[in-house]
Amino acid sequence: MTDVGRHPRIELLTLSEVVDVQGYIGNFRIKVLRKARYVDEKECTACSDCLEVCPVTKPNEFDLGLSTRKAIYQPFPQAVPSAFVLNLEDCLGNNPIACGKCAEACDLKCIDYDMQDKEVEFRVGTVIVATGMDVYDPTELDEFGYTRFENVITSLEFERLINSGGPTEGHLIRPTDWQLPKRVAFIQCIGSRSEKRGNPYCSNICCMNTVKDSLLIKDHWPEVEIKVFYMDIRAFGKGFEDLYKRSKAAGVMYIRGIPGDIREDPEAKNLILLSEDRNEGKVVEHEVDMVILSVGLVPNSDSPIIRQLLTLSQTSDGFFMEAHPKLLPVDAPTKGVFFAGCAEAPKDIKDSVTQASAAASRANILMSAGKITIEAITSHIDEELCKACGICARVCPYHAIEFDKEKKLPARVIEASCHGCGACAAECTFGAITMRHFTDQQIISQIESALGENPQDKVVVFACNWCSYAGGDFAGISRLQYPPSVRIIRTMCSGRVDEKFVLHAFKLGAPIVLVSGCHFADCHYISANRWTQKRVEKLWDKLEKKGVRPERLQLEWISAAEGLKFAKVMKEMEELRKGVTMEEIEYTQKEL
């Protein structure tokens, strides 16, 4: 961090908030609100003279409330810049002039109560999102007694307790009597791996953090008895198994089974844990002096704001979604944006550093080249045909279409941002948008050739490139059988499937049309398939109005791994096809 602060080509903006992001890869414009520090960060030498005279005492956030700070303070010992900051909300009467002691005490006259927040704008080529995570708050898990029993603390609070720069200068104490606890219990998976309460995912770091903490205790106080209650220990990283074995060899007891309940001895303040030892197959009572809840990681509470500013998407666990889980694990779906650390998923320091280095390199490659190559499947707007309705700009998941509501000028595609999903082309009712390599004409020709002969025997399937088409591929390589009546038409995204393609297929005599794409959480174009669903819903209404059974238009989300589902759905389509009569087909052709 100090290196970053000193680097001549890195500008570090602390106490700042990104308030707006405009533009696209190579041309981002970022607006940042620089909050007033009320202390001149260049002049302040962190001498602490102000701190000594400040009469206000507040809980120290960095020590999780285990120590106190003043209204003017340094957030934590290694803070960069090392200058102090004045929290105006804590300052006496919210009016520093009424007190003014700190300004009087400062010889260098760095304190300025009139400092104002400032908005600054930057132009940058790439963005790395490293916004981190929060930790799970176990208060809702009442059975563990966190906040009810003082000697139940979280693993993060323990980190502060055992840190030499922490509130006890690294002395392990238990909160009620400030004595060294003789018996300590760690409980794993608090807020993780639970479908009911907390989160269903594994938080990745907690097992090894406990193994490390147990060794720290054993190194300093070998006499302390340590019990770790766990579901399974996940020690999969390099050297981790070794560390786990060392901890066991040092005498740490690993007990398989999470306590169902914790009670407190009201006198001694000891804690009684009731747990089933799954290895032994019996229920055992354990009395300990202190319990450490190994809390999981949760997405940063500000993630939704960042997600909106940078047009990102999130996985079902709330962490940011990468462009591709295997091939582009560092890239965001928005070009020129990369991830580092827990913003993308829970990970430890080593993995965070690895991802951060990769993100820096990915950004560097783009910036040293100075130009990018884009795939030739982007959207193009014909200015003559565009009626400036703005629908395309509204549906584009990447904000790749510029449209000025006031000026009513034709919309314009920023090709560097366009990913080629085709949602805009499917929504434009004026036919002003051409998708390169997936033009209306190309798709219509495919429909026509699919239904050229005996259309009543065919099922037209629109499949998106990434998921359902890949699912079909998977069914193929798995040698799964599905009916030969199926005719597949590939689009990059199901969002490309225009209403007119579906109607054209029916007009040519298709008994059944299936629109298929990725599951919502997997959409390769952030949210383009939400428009697919909306369009299909509208089409159901339209077909019904015309007296056509809406059942003849089907919708299915199939992932690349769901070869079995693909084959099953194709069989279902064939069954539906058999139920469509010639009269129905002829009526539809006449009506549409």
């Binding site: 599951h519 919502f520 959480a521 939400r530 669903q533 909306k534 819903e537 159901w540 809406p550 059942e551 238009l553 089907q554 919708l555 299915e556 989300w557 759905v569 279902e572 539906l576």
Partner: protein
């Protein structure tokens, strides 16, 4: 109580109720009987049909 709506599966014909509010973001829906995603919301005026 959360708002609900009537849905019909266009694959197997199953009808069911599920949470729904016009203000919600679009959601992936599946028929509880056959698992199909061809799930259509039955709008108020069409309910009698």
């Amino acid at each position: 109580m959360a708002e609900e709506a009537d849905f019909k599966c266009l694959r197997c014909g199953h009808r069911f109720k599920a949470p729904y509010s016009p203000k919600d973001e679009p959601q992936e829906r599946a028929c509880p009987q056959c698992g199909s995603n061809s799930v259509r919301r039955i709008k108020e005026k069409a309910k009698g049909k």
